[in-house]
């Protein structure tokens, strides 16, 4: 069974550009989470989807970040326009109801 997959693994963009990160959760996992680790700091929660609905988006840093999960399958996280402080590793995780959390390898974003 495939795990949580994230694309791209690494993205390098200029300040002001747009980047879209994608996460494919484990099939059948209704819960999908986005986390972010800024260099040298702790991993921080961004938001939580239950199917296609945003259950908790308290960790989203500002309105330059837009997360979607159309159809309740894969999710995208768009950063527009990107700023230098957005650089970091973006992790996606999924979980079945009552199950443990499974993480992807992360998408490294570098904003120059």
């Amino acid at each position: 069974e495939a795990g949580v997959t994230q694309f791209p693994s690494h993205s390098v963009i200029e300040k002001g550009q747009t980047v879209t990160l994608r996460c494919d959760p484990i099939s059948g996992h209704d819960n999908l989470y986005w986390y972010r680790r800024v260099m040298g700091k702790e991993i921080k929660f961004l938001l939580h989807f239950v199917k296609e609905s945003k259950q908790d988006e308290s960790g989203m840093p500002n309105n330059r970040f837009l997360a979607e999960r159309t159809g309740g399958t894969y999710s995208t996280l768009k950063v527009q326009p990107a700023e230098l402080e957005d650089s970091g590793v973006y992790f996606c995780a999924s979980r079945a109801i009552g199950g443990e959390l499974f993480f992807g390898e992360g998408s490294r974003l570098t904003v120059l």
Binding site: R37, K41, E42, I43, H48, I97, F102, F103, G104
Partner: protein, 115 residues
């Protein structure tokens, strides 16, 4: 608000020896879960071990064990008989008792196992 602190940014250990990674946390809740996750270089983060706060017995998974001190809010990870494949970044994490995947992580400890 809950916080998790890992005070050791980097550690190293010789192969076959034992190493302990430290983690402290702060919470006013009585029931919660604590976790150690491992992320090898360029690989997925995986769960190493978990501890439920209402259980007094320390969790153990093969060569991995924890020293859970609830009163001191301490949750250290001991790796016995270290192997080269244990080289990774280790994250300590806290979760409230509610059924959720929302975790609060520490800053991480990079562990290097040397041959």
């Amino acid at each position: 608000a809950q916080t998790v602190t890992q005070s050791q940014p980097e550690m190293s250990v010789q192969e076959a020896e034992t190493v302990t990674l430290s983690c402290t946390y702060d919470t006013s809740e009585n029931n919660y879960y604590l976790f150690w996750y491992k992320q090898p270089p360029s690989r997925q983060m995986i769960l190493v071990i978990r501890q439920e706060a209402y259980k007094q017995q320390n969790a153990t998974e093969n060569r991995f064990s924890v020293n859970f001190q609830k009163a001191a809010k301490s949750f250290s990870l001991k790796i016995s008989d270290s192997q080269l494949g244990d080289t990774a970044m280790y994250f300590c994490a806290f979760r409230r008792s509610s059924n959720t995947g929302k975790l609060i992580f520490g800053q991480g400890t990079t562990l290097q196992v040397k041959p």
